[in-house]
Symmetry: C2
Subunit: 589 residues, 2 copies
């Protein structure tokens, strides 16, 4: 018998406690305190209320909760709560071979020794179904390497996830839309470029066979969703149009990219195509026509992996597709022009797909956060206030290579030592200025030898800030410090700017709609800037835009096979998107 | 008509000034002040007295001297002193093509703009003969890149060198022995391994054809010098024996290695073979037999370039040749054993060439400094007090690779930033402890990307100190700091020791003989430790040893084609070596 939200909201305290019994392992106080925040607007609101209670608890209380959990697959543990043993059963962990059991027990021992608390994992997967034993063991092996502070928090996050799954069961409220969209991601991730597909790794670069298979998958799925028209345009974008009540009314543009980086994740980009598709399917099933059309675009290219150019898909819509890019060659010598011909795309028609802003209300984009912020805050969604401006440099410091044994410290012209100073300055400078991030991601002493004082050191600079003026100040300070360090050490340096992109602040009215939408589904709206570039940055040039971020698990890792989302979070994104279009409809009616 | 040292020492001040007129360009005050130190023990003593005067002069006086020099090849300069114009003539600089002249004038302009003083170069080469126009232009191009402080001092050094050559002419005292030994170096440098020989670069690795040609060159030259026996031993060392009056008396062992690093210099190692050979030739020509024999060894291998093992030559004499090394393979898959067979060496006889210390008085070694100290002090020779102990590590710091745009500064686990902290600590720690040197020569973020926070960073550590306890303290401090930095930043690290060698302090009596010898030829003795490892370090294990260092030009650069010495400095090394063996003879008689 399922519980309803109404029951919880209307029950006496004792009754309510009884209804929520067994959620947090041996720790009923969390639900008890959370219930003080009744009434709850949604199941999500209840879940978030409980995470908030734990967040405000003392370190000792958190530790006690963690330590109340049984060791994973520890057959000797006789105190498994009913929920925990059934979940471990569903993951097959009670059916381990003796070898697997020995491996898990060794991992348990290693983990316990390193952290002095048990390893906790939501053994049901992101969609809520069982994870394989192999995947659980791989996660265990990875996590035993982490920092203790991180593991402490990661255990708490897994505890919340376990509770979320238990609550879904108690309420009989499964994230069905989220599950469907999660399944689309899984289905499309079967297509991967040669060399990666064989290893089960995801790589979809512009106009490869795998890429074309994705194009078709999106187009077919759009047709199934009930779009009025689905087209593949001259650059390879898949464009689905769901007409409004007035076919000539301005449209809401949305979408994201379906190409990936090499060895990337399943959600980067694609979530922003599939979430609006799920909403359109709901509209179509209900036969609803809004006062505006919805145009969902699966952008063919954003990541710049096969060719040097990036944002080919969204750039084509804003008139930023440069004809000279067609002459660029991939690593096999195939030009972009040739690749397009082979794919049946007419590059001469790209110019015609440029959009006229007056035909659109604006552009909204859903995207995985690709960062650790929401994950660390236990929040499923974030409202983007601005896409950071950025500037990138490749730098080289030149000193004098000399014998490591015979050159006194005071006589050295050490290019690596100067670069180290620059790196630590960059780190400190960005940390002092809220919203800035600055990174030296490439660092190398070319042909360095163990016994030679570095005569050269090459490094990259990646500087970002939510406002252009802030980025420019960061840039000026870093370059001035580079100059000062080299002058003081008697070194020379060169630098070459490779990228400069202006910040794209969100349009206030669209940002407000996202905030309203998130609030409406019972989630605390959290405003944040986007450190990564997105297709919305391109559309920003011609129309208002605003983005919604969805939490990534595993500290928000992205551009990596560990990139992950849950069907519960995806469900919330769909609900928020749906709310946003209905708000827009009200505003326009 | 040549001047004699006696004339200078006995002349009235005015006469003496007259005799030394025109040495320093338009700056007679240097010679005038130096003459106050009369009488001079040697021409070197006079030269050093003048460098000492300039060393104590004010920056303004030094600058005035530099600015008194004409622009190189500036035809417009009408104030060339007689000496300067004849030197420029001998380098062919007055016969430049219009293109060459334009290039020189551009370099003059660039140099003048960068430093605000003229470029000064001793256009007669290290042997005193003319340098080619091409070489002068190459040096000019290189030096215009240097730091202003360095160029200021480098100009002064070139001025002293110009004066040294002028004094040699005035006194009719050419460094004939130095010239001969200089010529041997040139002759032997014609042999170089494939891939380098074609480019005119010097690379002689163990048992290649070029290496075997060097073996033969040394053996033939030893025979010409009048050694009583010359043998090539089982490891490829060339052993020349000059018997003492009593053939069974203990011998003085000396020598150095004749292999090179890849793309190395002509003097590293070889100077320590050729200098004693020149002395033996003098003894043989004069028919002198000492109360002890002299055994000069050209060690076949020291640098560890073809195989991983190092010090194969000297190690074989001390019982340190490990039989398992014979199985090591070079990059072409040829084992050391095979290479020896092809060269006609019998590896099974290596064990028999181990020396018994009781048959030897000790080991002395002459070597280029391979560092900037003597060059910076204007001293041709240095007395080694100890060969530094060293320890080397390969380290890796592991953090978490994450998105450079989306990972807030406070959430990062940046392996490169931690490595930068380690680097700056290493630099600071070594600088605070006299005699220590510490270097991170290899530094890289493997597969780093401009937009990814480094998840891994690899670096090397090379830590050296003249005393073992000092090296151990340095090592402990650096490893403790590595641990502390990683703990603070939540990172993990690994390190692997690859080399640990104890310090080899010089035997006091042999060090004293070198000091006496250097003093006797009118050169200020300068005590210094050796930062680099040398064959003497190996012999140290079984007998007393002490080394003499010879200044290198170009800031003492070594393991580089720019490694350089002059025949004047080589002459002084020969004179010092000769003095040392005669002191030893006196001590033994």
């Amino acid at each position: 018998m399922n519980i309803s939200l109404e029951q919880i909201n209307n029950a006496s305290p004792d009754q309510a406690h009884e209804l929520l019994a067994g959620l947090y392992e041996h720790s009923p106080w969390i639900a008890e305190q959370a219930l003080k925040a009744r009434p709850f607007k949604s199941l999500s609101a209840l879940k978030l209320a409980m995470t908030a209670v734990l967040r405000q608890a003392s370190h000792a209380e958190k530790m006690a909760l963690i330590k109340a959990h049984p060791l994973l697959a520890d057959k000797a543990a006789q105190v498994l709560s009913t929920e925990s043993s059934s979940e471990q059963y569903s993951a097959g962990l009670t059916q381990c071979t003796p070898q697997e059991l020995a491996q898990l027990q060794q991992l348990n021992a290693d983990y316990q020794e390193r952290f002095s608390f048990p390893f906790i994992l939501a053994v049901r997967g992101p969609r809520g179904s069982g994870q394989s034993k192999e995947k659980i063991i791989a996660t265990f092996k990875r996590r035993v390497q982490n920092h203790p502070d991180f593991e402490f928090e990661e255990n708490l996050r897994n505890i919340h996830r376990i509770v979320e799954l238990r609550l879904n069961d108690k309420f009989g409220m499964q994230p069905n839309l989220g599950n469907n969209v999660w399944d689309w991601h899984e289905a499309m991730s079967q297509y991967s470029d040669p060399g990666y597909a064989e290893q089960g790794l995801l790589t979809v670069t512009y106009l490869t066979d795998a890429h074309r298979a994705c194009t078709n998958f999106i187009a077919t799925t759009m047709n199934d969703c009930g779009f009025d028209s689905v087209n593949i345009d001259a650059v390879g974008n898949v464009v689905g149009l769901y007409l409004g009540a007035d076919e000539s009314a301005p449209r809401l543009l949305t979408g994201s990219h379906y190409d990936t980086v090499r060895n990337g994740g399943k959600y980067d980009g694609r979530l922003g195509i599939f979430v609006p598709m799920a909403c359109v399917r709901q509209l179509s099933l209900a036969g609803v026509r809004l006062p505006f059309g919805i145009e969902v675009v699966g952008f063919a290219e954003e990541e710049g992996q096969r060719y040097k150019a990036t944002f080919l898909g969204s750039g084509a819509l804003t008139g930023d597709f440069k004809p000279e890019w067609l002459e660029q060659k991939d690593s096999d010598g195939i030009s972009m022009h040739q690749a397009m011909q082979q794919a049946g795309l007419k590059s001469e028609e790209i110019v015609a797909i440029q959009r006229d802003a007056k035909n659109y209300l604006g552009f909204v984009e859903v995207h995985v956060e690709q960062g650790p912020v929401l994950n660390a805050l236990d929040l499923p969604l974030g409202i983007v206030t601005s896409i950071n401006g950025q500037v990138r440099y490749l730098c080289e410091i030149t000193g004098l290579a000399s014998h490591a044994g015979t050159t006194p410290m005071a006589s050295r012209r050490d290019a690596a030592a100067a670069s180290a100073e620059v790196l630590l300055y960059v780190e400190k400078r960005a940390a002092e200025n809220l919203g800035c991030v600055a990174t030296i991601g490439m660092l190398t002493v070319p042909n360095g030898s163990i016994n030679v004082v570095p005569g050269r050191c090459q490094f990259s600079l990646d500087l970002r800030a939510p406002i252009d003026a802030q980025r420019d100040a960061l840039e000026n300070d870093v370059l001035a410090e580079l100059k000062a360090i080299c002058a003081r050490r008697g070194l020379q340096y060169t630098f070459e700017m490779t990228v400069k992109v202006d910040a794209a602040p969100s349009a206030p009215d669209w940002q407000q709609r996202w905030e309203n939408a998130v609030t409406a589904i019972g989630v605390t709206p959290y405003a944040m800037n986007s450190g990564a570039g997105h297709d919305a940055m391109k559309l920003h040039k011609i129309m208002p835009q605003a983005m919604l971020f969805v939490r990534g698990e595993n500290a928000g890792i992205s551009h990596n096979p560990l990139e992950s989302s849950t069907s519960d979070d995806i469900q919330l994104a769909i609900e928020a998107f749906s709310n946003l279009i209905h708000q827009t409809a009200q505003d326009r009616s």
